[in-house]
């Protein structure tokens, strides 16, 4: 197996699924009709409702749904179960569930005056359902902020060649903001200088280090990474406490050499425990400072230019890697060949006693890229209000989902061509090899790897700084009347960051991710459930949505319970765990139970609605000509 095959398989499956399944559902079941007025045309207000070209809308929809999700989930799953189950779920999930969820949610909203999913839940099922959906949305934000800051801090603490690039990004962001908006300098010059310097800083992090096959890099000879490593050593005098990662995806866990992981200051190979070192704490605080700037400075000073530079970096690194994935089998067969195990078993052996059975855990670990409930939510409130013609829903909604799937496939390729690593480390190493191939050896693999790490952090960081911006506004809105201090943007920002920091320091970012994945997939099940009830209410065959809905519902409920069990067994009830880890674990167990109960309540209400519409179905929608 090699990277070219992934490209071929992806292209063929996506073509077949789109042409012969998605189009058939669109034509026969939904009966999209270009002559029927869409909400965008009926209620055009220049803001929410605005008819938009399907080409523009496709780009907007894709940009809205593709973020770090298809990267983090895929690299974590490949490390746990191997590349074969991951690619199978990516392909089957997107072909039979992912596009159907996104497309159907859009069409349901289009046929119901552009109402959002929660409004549809209120109308079709019960008022209680809308309130329960707010719970999902709130905990999603908390989980995603904690998971993202946790994985970024682990990368910055484990890789001394990465922080310099991120520091330069922050400086370049400030400089670009000043140059563009104060000096009114040429955008071309500013772009070339700031993006070029940031890329160079990311790639030069490992400059001077010694890399030997089968050994960890020797940073001591590197002027940049060596300085960072030396500083880290000076503050890492002792471990603050220990945490465990049953998936071995934490970037602080070193690569295996001949199947055996070595002990490092951050990792005890005998016990499998990760030492939380002061450098990790420092990295977490640094990330929060970065996010604080993004959340509190005027947008033009920091958040906008950082996102602008970050976009170019992400586009360049991902684009060059994609070229490398295609070229590798022809120019460097060894680089493009898959080295990761195809299948590691239905229940990977984990020393910590955690359960990670392939079913249901694979299906929540890989969310975005295969199926994502948040796409459906966004599709219903954003895209559905801008569709010019009903017939645009499939290329925009379904096409956007298939496109995001290709990002997941690239992530899978990156981790599958590396050996001994897992998680973000494998992703970055894979990117490093692909960049090396694409540039015909001009950029050596270690420098490409540093670029991979840098690009990964940039993708995640640009999202996180805006999450905190939104968090502070929310706190002010919700609690500002209770205590006026929450209306102060600095106090509100710090409170949001302290809560997130608590989750980060609990050391459970993988569980945070899986819980996020479960809530995400549960939303996909909910959107499919709504579509199923809607189709029944209008007298159409709901099988294409109903069967995947049952699978997703049962799977995500089971995964939520297993994650709660894992948290209890490996952290909450385990001996010698740090108090903050135990507190974080109990908080997440509570969230898991809450999500489970909420989902059961919605299913109960939906079952009653199903019976109601079965007894008295609404009149079927007239069949469209053609």
């Amino acid at each position: 197996m090699n990277s070219l095959w992934i490209v071929v398989i992806g292209a063929v499956v996506i073509y077949l699924a789109y042409t012969y399944y998605a189009r058939r559902i669109d034509r026969v079941v939904i009966q999209s009709d270009a002559s029927r007025a869409t909400p965008a045309r009926m209620y055009m207000d220049g803001a929410d409702f605005m008819p938009t070209s399907r080409f523009v809308l496709y780009g907007y929809h894709f940009k809205s749904i593709a973020a770090a999700g298809p990267i983090v989930g895929v690299i974590t799953a490949a490390a746990l179960w191997g590349w074969l189950p991951s690619i199978l779920w990516l392909m089957i999930g997107v072909s039979f569930i992912g596009w159907a969820s996104d497309y159907s949610a859009i069409m349901m909203a289009v046929r119901n005056d552009g109402n959002s999913l929660s409004a549809m839940a209120h109308k079709l099922i019960s008022p209680r359902t809308r309130r329960i959906m707010f719970v999902f949305i709130f905990f999603y934000l908390l989980l995603i902020a904690g998971a993202f800051v946790g994985i970024m801090a682990a990368i910055l603490a484990a890789r001394p060649d990465v922080p310099f690039g991120i520091l330069v990004l922050a400086v370049m962001g400030l400089a670009a903001g000043y140059a563009i908006y104060r000096m009114r300098a040429s955008i071309i010059g500013v772009t070339v200088v700031t993006v070029g310097l940031t890329l160079a800083a990311m790639a030069l992090g490992p400059f001077g280090a010694t890399f030997e096959a089968g050994k960890p890099p020797d940073w001591s000879t590197a002027p940049i990474a060596g300085t960072v490593a030396s500083f880290n050593s000076s503050i890492n005098t002792s471990s603050l406490y220990t945490v465990v990662d049953p998936t071995n995806a934490d970037p602080r866990i070193p690569a295996a050499v001949d199947g055996v992981r070595p002990s490092t200051p951050a990792y005890n190979a005998d016990t499998g425990e990760i030492n939380v070192l002061p450098s990790f704490l420092l990295a977490s605080v640094a990330l929060l400072v970065f996010s604080y700037l993004g959340a509190n400075m005027a947008i033009w000073r920091f958040a906008q230019p950082v996102n602008y530079i970050g976009f170019w970096i992400m586009a360049i690194v991902i684009g060059v890697s994609a070229i490398g994935a295609i070229l590798a089998p022809f120019t460097s067969a060894d680089v493009g060949a898959f080295k990761l195990d195809a299948f590691k078993g239905f229940q990977p052996a984990l020393a910590t006693g955690a359960l990670q059975p392939l079913w249901p855990m694979l299906f929540v670990t890989i969310a975005c890229g295969a199926v994502s409930g948040w796409h459906a939510l966004f599709g219903s409130v954003g895209t559905a209000r801008q569709l010019e013609y009903e017939t645009d829903a499939l290329p925009v909604g379904g096409g956007g989902m298939f496109s995001e799937n290709t990002l997941g496939l690239l992530s899978l390729t990156s981790v599958a061509i590396t050996t001994g690593l897992a998680g973000a480390g494998a992703f970055a190493a894979g990117i490093g090899n692909l960049v090396n191939v694409a540039t015909f050896g001009l950029i050596a693999a270690p420098f490409g790897t540093a670029l991979g790490f840098g690009a990964f952090v940039v993708i995640v960081l640009t999202v996180v700084q805006l999450v905190f911006r939104v968090m502070r506004v929310t706190l002010g809105e919700w609690l500002g009347d209770t205590w006026v201090g929450f209306k102060n943007q600095h106090i509100a920002s710090i409170v949001g960051m302290v809560v997130t920091m608590g989750l980060v320091l609990s050391g459970t970012w993988v569980y945070l991710w899986q819980l996020f994945g479960a809530s995400n997939q549960l939303l996909a099940a909910l959107s499919l459930l709504l579509v199923t009830v809607w189709l029944r209410s209008v007298g159409k065959n709901p099988a294409y949505a109903g069967i995947p809905m049952v699978f997703m519902y049962v799977t995500t409920l089971a995964a939520t319970l297993i994650t709660a069990y894992n948290l209890y067994v490996t952290i909450a009830s385990a001996p010698n765990m740090a108090a903050i880890s135990v507190a974080g674990a109990w908080a997440m167990i509570a969230i898991a139970v809450l999500l489970f109960v909420a989902a059961v309540l919605i299913a109960y209400d939906a079952w009653r609605a199903w019976g109601r519409y079965g007894a008295a179905p609404a009149a079927p929608v007239p069949v469209a000509p053609g």
Partner: protein
């Protein structure tokens, strides 16, 4: 059988300028707050902070001028406003060899500066030419 009346090709006015940034790309958060009724408040706050005062005033003047153009000329004119600090802005700047903003390009002829009303005669002339 009647022949359709010939309508002149619309005059294209492309404006490359510093534009307010409103973040739509973090759609998960975007969506959450829209559902909670906070979307508009966030949008207004972001827009208010997205440009320094002098550039915000320039953009307001540009916005007023564009609206007046559309009111006066309707389908005879097609206006595109491009944020300079975007990928499209960089491409448009390279293509039109523009390094200072706002830059207004009327059917390929470019003018730099904020005296937008000085462009009206040029636009009127191009519209008259297109109609003949």
């Amino acid at each position: 059988m009647s022949t359709p009346r010939r309508v002149g090709k619309p005059v294209t006015v492309q404006v490359i300028t510093y534009a307010p940034t409103v973040f739509y790309h973090c759609q998960h958060c975007e969506l959450a707050f829209q559902e909670m009724g906070l979307g508009e408040r966030l949008r207004r706050q972001e827009a208010a902070e997205s440009l320094p005062d002098d550039l915000a005033r320039d953009f307001q003047a540009l916005s007023d001028w564009v609206h007046s153009l559309l009111q006066r000329f309707g389908p005879q004119i097609r206006v595109r406003v491009i944020d300079a600090a975007s990928v499209e802005g960089v491409v448009a700047s390279v293509r039109n060899r523009v390094g200072r903003y706002p830059a207004v390009i009327v059917d390929g002829e470019k003018r730099i500066g904020t005296d937008f009303s000085a462009l009206d005669p040029l636009i009127e002339q191009r519209i008259a030419t297109a109609a003949n």
